[in-house]
Symmetry: C4
C-alpha cells in the first residue's frame, strides 16, 4: 500500500502521474524559476516597503515548497540514504538549508545556495537525451579537454610572466605583479578585451602578438572538440534513456519508478 | 482562364515567367533592398528639404509596390486563406500595414515592421538549397541547441548572481543589482567585452576567471554544432527542393505553381 | 632556340632551373617581402634624411626588379595575352604601375597597389596543395557561405535599426543614425567590442542580449564550415597539383613549363 | 649493478618504482608548480622582510631539487649525450642555469628560463596519449595551418596598411605609422578589441567592416582545423604510447627504461 503511494508520489514529481499529470512537476520546476526571479528582484535597491514584504513572503512560500518537495522525494525514494547522498539529494538539501537554519534566514551567501537547484532544470522532460549525449561527448573527449585545460593554464601563466616582464616599468599599477598580469592574460586570451589594461610598450605589444598567435587556438579549441564530439556521439535512443541519467540513485530494474 | 492567369502571375512573381523572365522578381526583391536603403537614409539628420521629400516619395512608391505585390499574391494563391495565414503572408501583410493604416504613416515603430520583408531575400533563387540544408541541420541538432541555450541561460544567471555578490560593494553602480550584473555577464561570456563594466576586486576577478573557463565553451559550442551539422547534412538535390521549403502554403502536387 | 630559352626563363622564375636552382624565385619572393618592409618603414615619421634616401633607393630598386620580372614573365609566357589578362598578370602589372607612370611616383594610393603582389607569396612552393584544398573546400561550401553572408548582412542591418530605435534619444551621437548604429552592430556581433559605443538604456541592453543570442552564431558559423570542409576535402596528391592551380594561364600538356 | 641502479633511478623519476611508487615523480612535478608559485609571489610588492627571505629560501631549495634531478637524469640516461642534447635535456639545463651561474642568481631574465620546465607538466602520466593525438593532428593539418598562418600575416599587414591610409590624418598618434596600425589590426582581427585604438572616420569604419568580413574567418579557422583533426585522429592505444613520445632520447627496444 505504502509502496504504491510512494510510486505515485514519485510519478507525480516526475510529471508522469495518470491523474495529476504534469501539474506537480510544473509546480516544482516553476518554483525554481520563481526562486531565481525573487532573488533577482530582491537585489534591486530602493524597493517600496510593500514590495520587500511581498518578496519576503514569496521567498518563504518557495522555501516551503522546496522543503515539502525534499521531504516527498526522501520519503518516496526506494533507498533513502542513496537519494540523500546522491548529487541531486545534496543539492536539494543545500537549497533548503536557509529554511532549516532559521537562525540566519537573511544571509545572502546561504540564500545563493538555493540557486544550485537551477541545474535541476536540465533534467526537464525533453533535455534528457541531449544531456546524455553531452555527457557521452565529454567523456569521449575528456583526455583532449584535460590536455587543453592544462595547456591553457600554462599559456596563461607564461603570458602573465612575460607581459609582467615587459610592462612592469611602464605600467606598475596594471602589470606590476604577476597576479595583476594574469588578469590581463585572461581578458586577452579569451578575447574578452575589456580594455581596462593593455600593453603600451613596443616590446609588450610584440609579445602580445606572439602570445595571441599561440594562445588563441588553445583557448578556442576545446569548444570545437566538444561540438565535434557531440555530432559524432550516437543517439542511443531508448533503453539507455530510461535508466542512464542518474547512476547514483538508480534502482534495480524491477522498480523503475526512480527515474528522477 | 483565370486559372491560367493566376499561374502566370505566380510564375512572374517567382521570376519563372517565360516572357517577363526575372523582371518582376527583380523588381520585388529590389524594392525590399530599396526600402532598407530609404529607412537608413531617413534616419540621417539635417537632411535638406528636397531630400526629405524625395525619400518620402520613394517610401510611398515602395509601399505601393508592396501593396500591389500583396494583392497579386493573395489573388493568385491557390488557397487565399492559406497564404494569408502562412508565415510569409503575415510578414507581407505587416509590411504594408503602415500604408493601410493611413492614420499614422510616419510612425517609426510601424515602419520598422516593413523590414521583416528583408527575410524574403533568403528565398532568392540560389539560396533555397542552402536554406533547406540549414533547416535540416537545425532540426537535427535541435535538442543539443536547446540544451546549450538553457545551459547558457543558467550560466549567465549564475555568473550575474556571483559577480553581484563579489562586486556590489566596490562598484554599486555597475554591479549593485542582479539585472545590472547580467549586462556584465552577457558582455563577458560572449567575449564582446565593451569595457564599460568589469570587476575590480580580487575576488571578482578570480570569479570571472572561473566563469570564463566554464562559460566560454557553452556560448561558443552551438556555432560549432550547427557548422558540423551543416557539413554532414545530405544535399537532397532535386525532388525535395521543389516542394519542401514552405510547408504552410504547399499545395497538392497537381498544382505546382505555388513554390514561392 | 627562343623556345628553349623561354622554358628556361620560366623554370628559373619558378625555382626549377637545373643550374640557377631557386635563386631567381627566392629573389622574386624576397623582393615582395622587402617591398612590404620598405612601405612599413616609409610610414615611420621623423626619419633622418639618409634613411629616407636609402628607402627611396630601395623602393626604386625593387620596382626595377618587378618591372624586369613582369617583362620576363610576359616574354616567356606561351601565350602573352593570356598571361597579361590573367589574374596574376594584372596583379603584376598594377604592382609596377607607379614605375610606369613616372609622373606620380610618390602617390601613396598607387604605391599601395604594389602590395597586391603580396598574395603571390601564397603560390610559394609548399603552399600549393593546401591552397588547392582551401579552394576545393570553399567551392564545396559556397552555397552555405553565401547564405550565411546574406544572413549576417540582414542581422547586422536589423540590429542597427533596432538599437537606433532604442538608443537614439539617450545617445544621439552614437546611435542617432542607422549608419552610426551599424558601426555598433559590427563591433558587437563580431565580438570585437571596442567599447567606444554601447547601449545604456535598459531596452537597448535587452535588445543587445537578444541580438547576440541570434547573431553570434551567424557570424561564427562560416569559420566552422570552412574548417570542417577543409578536413573533409580529399588530398588529391599529384596529378592535379601540376596543372590545377592557375586555370587562366594553363597551357596544353605538351608545354608544361607554365606552372606559375 | 650500476645498470640496475640506473634503471631504478629512471623508474623512480617516472613514478614507476615498485617501492617508492610515485613519490619521486610527485616531488619533481610538485617542485615545478612550487617554482611557478614562488616566482608569482616574488613579483608582489611591499612584501615583509621575512616573506622575502622565505621565498629566497624556497627558490634555492627548488633550484637544488632541479640540479639534483638533472644530475640523476643525466647519470641514469642510457646515452648521456643524447639526453643532454634532447629537447627536454636542454630545457632542464636552462632551468638550472641560474644556479650554475652563481654570479647572477637574481637576474629576472635568467630566472624566467626556469619556467620552461613548466612544459614538463604536459608529460604527466595521463596526458601522454592526448598529447600524441595532438601531435598527430597538428602533423596532419600542418599544411593547412601553415597556409592560414601565412594568410593571417598577409591580412594583418594589408589591414594595417589600409587603416593607416584612412585614419592617419584623423588620428596621427594611433594610426600614424604602419607598425602602430598593426597593433590595431591585431586587436581587431583577433576580436580582442581593447578599445585603446579604433577608427573614427567613415572610410576607416567601412574598411574595418570589410576587413572583419574577410579576416575574422582566417583567424578563427585554424582552431577549427585542429579541433576537427583531433577528433578524427586515431587513438593508437598501446605500442606507440610506449616509445613514441620522445624520439630524441628513444632507445633500442631491449632497454625500455628511458620512457621519460
Amino acid at each position: 500500500m505504502a509502496r504504491r503511494l510512494k510510486s505515485r508520489v514519485q510519478a507525480a514529481l516526475e510529471g508522469q502521474d495518470p491523474q495529476l499529470g504534469r501539474a506537480v512537476a510544473v509546480l516544482v520546476y516553476g518554483a525554481i524559476l520563481a526562486s531565481a526571479l525573487v532573488i533577482t528582484l530582491q537585489s534591486l535597491r530602493d524597493l517600496p516597503g510593500w514590495a520587500v514584504a511581498l518578496l519576503r513572503g514569496a521567498e518563504l512560500t518557495l522555501l516551503a515548497i522546496f522543503v515539502a518537495e525534499y521531504a516527498a522525494r526522501l520519503w518516496s525514494a526506494p533507498s533513502r540514504w542513496r537519494y540523500a547522498l546522491s548529487f541531486w539529494g545534496i543539492v536539494d538539501l543545500l537549497a533548503i538549508l536557509p529554511a532549516l537554519l532559521l537562525l540566519a534566514p537573511h544571509s545572502q551567501t546561504l540564500r545563493v545556495l538555493r540557486l544550485m537547484r537551477i541545474f535541476r532544470l536540465l533534467k526537464l522532460f525533453r533535455m534528457r537525451r541531449a544531456l546524455m549525449r553531452l555527457e557521452h561527448a565529454l567523456d569521449k573527449a575528456r583526455e583532449d579537454l584535460l590536455l587543453f585545460l592544462l595547456l591553457a593554464a600554462i599559456v596563461l601563466f607564461l603570458a602573465a610572466v612575460g607581459i609582467h616582464h615587459f610592462e612592469k616599468d611602464a605600467q606598475p599599477d596594471s602589470f606590476g605583479t604577476i597576479p595583476n598580469a594574469l588578469w590581463w592574460a585572461l581578458a586577452t586570451l579569451t578575447t574578452v578585451g575589456y580594455g581596462d589594461v593593455y600593453p603600451v610598450t613596443v616590446a609588450g605589444k610584440i609579445f602580445t602578438a606572439l602570445t595571441l598567435m599561440v594562445g588563441l587556438g588553445i583557448v578556442a579549441i576545446p569548444a570545437g572538440i566538444i561540438a565535434s564530439a557531440l555530432l559524432n556521439a550516437p543517439a542511443r535512443p531508448d533503453e539507455t534513456e530510461a535508466s542512464g541519467d542518474d547512476p547514483d540513485t538508480r534502482q534495480p530494474k524491477t522498480n523503475n519508478t526512480e527515474r528522477e
